[in-house]
C-alpha cells in the first residue's frame, strides 16, 4: 500500500465531537449578573457603605483565590467568576453598618472573604470539591467571631452617604423579641409591612432586603434554567407551612398558638429569598439529583424555621443551608436515579 497521505494532519480526539456552548464560567457570570438588581437595591437603601463593603469582599475574594493558586502553583481560575460570586454573595450577606460601626471593622469583610475562598473552597480542592457554601461559611465565621459588629443594623435611609442612619432591629429581630403586634406597629399597618418587606425598605443585610429585586434575578435564572424549581420552591414551601403551623403566638400568654402564624412575614423577611434562590442552589454544595434536591429544600426550610422559632438567633437561613450542605453527598447517594428499565423490571 502507498504511504499514508500527509497533506493534512488529522486531529484525533474522542467522541462526542460536538459540545454544547455552555461553560462553567458563563454560568458563574450569569449568576453574578442575576444578583445585580438585588445588590443595586441594597446600594440604594443603604448608600455608599453597601457598595464599599461589597466591593471589598469581591476584591479580597478574587485576590485571595489568585494568590492562593499562585502560591500552590495551581492553574489560575479567577476568571471563571466563582470567586467573584463568593465575594458578591458574602458582601450582600453583611450588614452595611459594618463600615460605620467602627473604623477598624474594615478587616471584617476581608477576613470573611479569605475564610470563604481559601479555607472553605481552596483547602478542599477548589471549585467543585468544597462541601460548604463558601460565602455562608465566611459569614458564619464572622458572626461567631464578631457577634456585635455583625448584628448592628441601620435603617434603610435611601440616602447616598447615609451618615445619619439610625441603628434599628431587623423585622425578624422585632418579631422574635417583641412579637407581631410591635412589628406591625413599627411599619404602620400590616399591608404596609408586607409592601415594605417586598420592596426591601427595611433593616437587614445589604442584598437580602428587596424581595422584588431578588425575584427578578431568580426568575431570570429559572427561565434560563441555570437553576430549577426543586430547591427554592421546596425550601420556601416548607418555611411557609411551618410558619403557618408553628409561627403563631398568643398575644396574651406569649405561648405558641398552632395554625396561627403568618407565613408571608416569614417568607418576605430575613435572608430567605437570597438563600433559597441563590445560595441553597449552589451546584457544588447541594445534591445534584433532582429528587434529592427536594429533600434538601425541605430540610433547609425545616431547619430555618426551627432556628427562627426555637433557636437563639432571629434568622436561621444561613445555618440551615450549611447544615444541609453536609448531607448533600449522602442525599445524592441515597437517591440515585433509577436506571432505565430497572423500575419496570421490579414491577414484573
Amino acid at each position: 500500500m502507498e504511504p499514508v497521505k500527509k497533506e493534512h494532519e488529522l486531529i484525533v480526539t474522542v467522541s462526542p465531537h460536538v459540545r454544547d456552548e455552555e461553560t462553567t464560567s458563563r454560568i458563574m457570570w450569569t449568576v453574578n449578573l442575576s444578583l445585580l438588581p438585588a445588590f443595586f437595591m441594597g446600594f440604594y437603601f443603604f448608600g455608599l457603605k453597601a457598595l464599599f463593603i461589597t466591593a471589598l469582599c469581591i476584591i479580597s475574594s478574587v485576590l485571595s483565590e489568585y494568590f492562593f493558586q499562585k502560591a500552590v502553583k495551581k492553574k489560575l481560575t479567577v476568571n471563571d467568576g466563582s470567586a467573584f460570586l463568593t465575594g458578591l454573595l458574602l458582601g450582600m450577606n453583611l450588614p452595611s453598618s459594618l463600615w460605620s460601626f467602627n473604623p477598624f471593622t474594615i478587616h471584617v469583610p476581608i477576613i470573611g472573604s479569605v475564610i470563604a475562598v481559601v479555607i472553605t473552597k481552596q483547602f478542599f480542592g477548589g471549585l467543585g470539591y468544597n462541601i460548604f457554601n463558601p460565602a455562608l461559611i465566611g459569614r458564619a465565621f464572622l458572626l461567631i467571631s464578631f457577634p456585635k459588629a455583625m448584628t448592628i443594623w441601620t435603617e434603610p435611609t435611601a440616602a447616598f452617604l447615609a451618615l445619619d442612619a439610625k441603628t434599628t432591629a431587623t423585622p425578624l429581630g422585632i418579631l422574635k423579641e417583641d412579637g407581631l403586634a410591635k412589628l406591625i406597629e413599627a411599619f404602620g399597618d400590616k399591608l404596609n409591612l408586607y409592601a415594605e418587606l417586598f420592596n426591601g425598605h427595611r433593616a437587614g443585610s445589604i442584598g437580602e432586603t428587596s424581595v422584588l429585586a431578588l425575584l427578578i434575578g431568580a426568575g431570570f435564572l429559572l427561565y434560563k434554567r441555570y437553576i430549577t424549581w426543586h430547591i427554592p420552591f421546596s425550601f420556601l414551601g416548607t418555611v411557609a407551612v411551618l410558619a403557618w403551623i408553628f409561627g403563631g403566638k398568643s398575644p396574651e400568654t406569649g405561648k405558641m398558638l398552632l395554625f396561627a402564624g403568618d407565613p408571608l412575614i416569614h417568607l418576605l423577611s430575613g435572608g430567605l429569598m437570597l438563600g433559597a434562590f441563590f445560595m441553597a442552589t449552589d451546584y457544588v454544595t447541594c445534591p445534584s439529583v433532582r429528587k434529592g434536591q427536594i429533600v434538601f429544600g425541605i430540610g433547609c426550610g425545616a431547619l430555618t424555621m426551627l432556628i427562627r422559632i426555637k433557636g437563639g438567633y432571629p434568622e436561621g437561613v444561613m445555618f440551615a443551608i450549611l447544615l444541609m450542605n453536609c448531607f448533600a453527598p449522602l442525599i445524592d447517594r441515597a437517591m440515585k436515579s433509577d436506571v432505565f428499565g430497572a423500575v419496570k423490571e421490579k414491577k414484573k
Binding site: 499514508v4 488529522l10 474522542v14 460536538v18 454544547d20 467543585g128 440515585k336 432505565f340 428499565g341 419496570k344
Partner: protein, 435 residues
C-alpha cells in the same frame, strides 16, 4: 398527539442540511478495496481465497468464524493481491483481504425472484445469512443472530429504525426517500421470518418528507405503522426507540428480545429485501460524506472496502480548513488518524470537521455538580459520579453507579459545562473492571 419519545436526551444542532438534498449517487469503483474480515463484534471471518485468486463481485471471500458472525463478500471483480493486517476506522489492525479491481463488475450470480415473499421463513432466513447482512446503523451486529431468538424469548414486534438521530448524517433519510417501498418490503420479510404481525417504522420528526414517503409506501399494510418521533438524541438508540414506540423498557443489561422486540436499521431492511429478492449480498452501502470541511457533501453508494481517502477525493477533497475526520456521526463516531482505512458494513458517514469547529477537550475543569448530565442521561445514570470516580481511579466504586449500563452515547459529555470527557472516563473504568 404528543410525539413518541423517551426521558432525557439532548438537542445538538442537527446540521443535516449540509447533505440532506443530495440524492444517492453511485461512487466510482475504486482501484482496489480492502475488506476487513472482522467488521463487528464477535468472531472474525476465515479467509477462503488465496493471493492471486480471481474473484467475482459478490463472491464469498470470508466465511463466518462462529455463530455471531456473518460472511464477507468481494465488492468488486478482480484479483486478491494481499491478505494481511490493515488498520480499520477505529484504529485497530484487523486481518483484511485486498482485491485489485478489474473494473469489469462481473457478478457471481444474481437472480430476480419476484415471488420471494412466498418463500418459507427458513428459506428467507437462509438468504439473509448467505448475504452476510449486519446491522448498518453502526454496531454492525449480525442480523441473523437477531433473527434467531431462543425459544423462550418470542418476538412480537419489529421496529425499523429510521430515527437517524446522529447530527449531520442523512444516509438513512435518503434511503427512506428513494427506496421507501423496498424498505417496507424488507420489513415484511423480517416480519415473515420471525412470524410477527406488528411492524413499526420510527422516524424523527425533522424528516417530514421521509415520514410521508414511508407512510405512502406502507399504506396498504395494516400491520405496519409509520411513527413520527420527537427530534432528540439518542432517539435512535435501540432501548430509547423501543420505549418511545411500544412503551416497553428493556431491563438493564438486557436485550430488545427481552421485551419481545427486534430492531433493524433502515439500510438493513433494504439489504434484507435485496438479498431475498435478488440474492444480492451486502457489498455496498450508503455513506453520508458531510461536514463543513468537505468540498462537495454527498450521499454515496459505496463499495465495502473502499478507502475513505478515495471517497474524500471523489467529493472534491477537503476545504483548507479541514481539521478532523470522523467515521460515523459526531456523537459516537471515531476520529480517524489516517484516511487510508476502508468503509465497512457499519460505516454510516464520513464527517469532516473544519479546524475552527474542533472541540478541544484536553483542558477540562472539575465537576461542578450542576446535574445537567444526570438530567439528560437516557439511561438514568449519574455520569458526574462515574466520571469523578474514574478520574480518581476508583473503578470498582463506579459499578455501584451502574457503570456497565452506560452505552456511551456521549450526551453527558455534550452538555457538561466543565467540558469533562465523561465518556472517556467511563470507557476507561469499563476497561479496567469486570461487570
Amino acid at each position: 398527539m404528543a410525539l413518541a419519545t423517551f426521558k432525557g436526551g439532548i438537542h445538538p444542532p442537527d446540521k443535516k442540511d449540509i447533505a440532506k438534498d443530495s440524492a444517492i449517487k453511485e461512487a466510482k469503483s475504486p482501484q482496489r478495496v480492502v475488506i476487513p474480515l472482522s467488521q463487528h463484534l464477535g468472531a472474525p471471518c476465515k479467509p477462503i481465497v488465496s493471493i492471486g485468486q480471481e474473484v467475482k463481485k459478490g463472491e464469498v471471500i470470508g466465511e463466518p468464524g462462529g455463530f455471531v458472525s456473518a460472511p464477507v463478500h468481494s465488492s468488486v471483480s478482480g484479483k486478491v493481491i494481499a491478505i494481511a493486517e490493515f488498520p480499520n476506522t477505529m484504529g485497530r489492525m484487523v486481518n483484511s483481504i485486498v482485491i485489485e479491481n478489474d473494473c469489469k463488475e462481473e457478478w457471481t450470480s444474481l437472480k430476480d425472484n419476484p415471488d420471494y415473499i412466498k418463500l418459507s421463513a427458513d428459506e428467507l432466513k437462509e438468504k439473509v445469512k448467505a448475504a452476510g447482512i449486519v446491522g448498518m446503523g453502526g454496531a454492525a451486529f449480525p442480523t441473523l443472530v437477531k433473527l434467531s431468538p431462543p425459544k423462550e424469548k418470542p418476538i412480537d414486534t419489529i421496529i425499523i429504525n429510521g430515527a437517524e438521530c446522529e447530527p449531520y448524517l442523512t444516509a438513512d433519510y435518503r434511503l427512506m426517500l428513494e427506496k421507501s417501498s423496498d424498505i417496507v418490503e424488507g420489513l415484511k420479510i423480517l416480519m415473515r421470518i420471525l412470524g410477527v404481525n406488528k411492524g413499526f417504522i420510527g422516524i424523527e420528526n425533522n424528516k417530514p418528507d421521509a415520514i410521508d414517503k414511508m407512510k405512502d409506501a406502507a399504506k396498504n399494510e395494516p400491520n405496519i405503522e409509520v411513527c413520527g418521533l420527537e427530534v432528540k438524541y439518542p432517539q435512535g438508540a435501540e432501548k430509547m426507540l423501543i420505549s418511545a414506540l411500544t412503551g416497553r423498557e428493556v431491563p438493564p443489561r438486557g436485550l430488545p428480545m427481552d421485551v419481545r422486540v427486534v430492531v433493524q436499521n433502515v439500510g438493513t431492511a433494504l439489504a434484507v429485501y435485496e438479498a431475498a429478492r435478488y440474492g444480492k449480498p451486502l457489498i455496498e452501502r450508503v455513506v453520508t460524506v458531510t461536514g463543513e470541511g468537505i468540498k462537495t457533501p454527498a450521499n454515496l453508494m459505496v463499495k465495502i472496502g473502499m478507502l475513505i481517502s478515495d471517497i474524500v477525493d471523489q467529493c472534491g477533497g477537503f476545504k483548507d480548513s479541514a481539521g478532523k475526520v470522523v467515521s460515523g456521526g459526531p456523537m459516537m463516531g471515531f476520529a480517524l488518524s489516517t484516511l487510508d482505512v476502508p468503509v465497512t458494513k457499519g460505516t454510516s458517514g464520513i464527517l469532516v470537521i473544519p479546524k475552527e469547529g474542533v472541540v478541544h477537550t484536553e483542558e477540562f475543569g472539575p465537576c461542578i455538580r450542576c446535574g445537567r448530565c444526570i438530567d439528560i442521561c437516557p439511561m438514568g445514570l449519574m455520569p458526574s459520579m462515574l466520571s469523578i470516580l474514574s478520574e480518581k481511579g476508583h473503578y470498582e466504586d463506579a459499578k455501584e453507579y451502574n457503570l456497565f449500563d452506560c452505552f456511551e452515547c456521549g450526551s453527558c459529555a455534550f452538555v457538561c459545562p466543565s467540558k469533562r470527557p465523561i465518556v472517556q472516563f467511563i470507557r476507561l473504568a469499563k476497561s479496567l473492571t469486570k461487570p
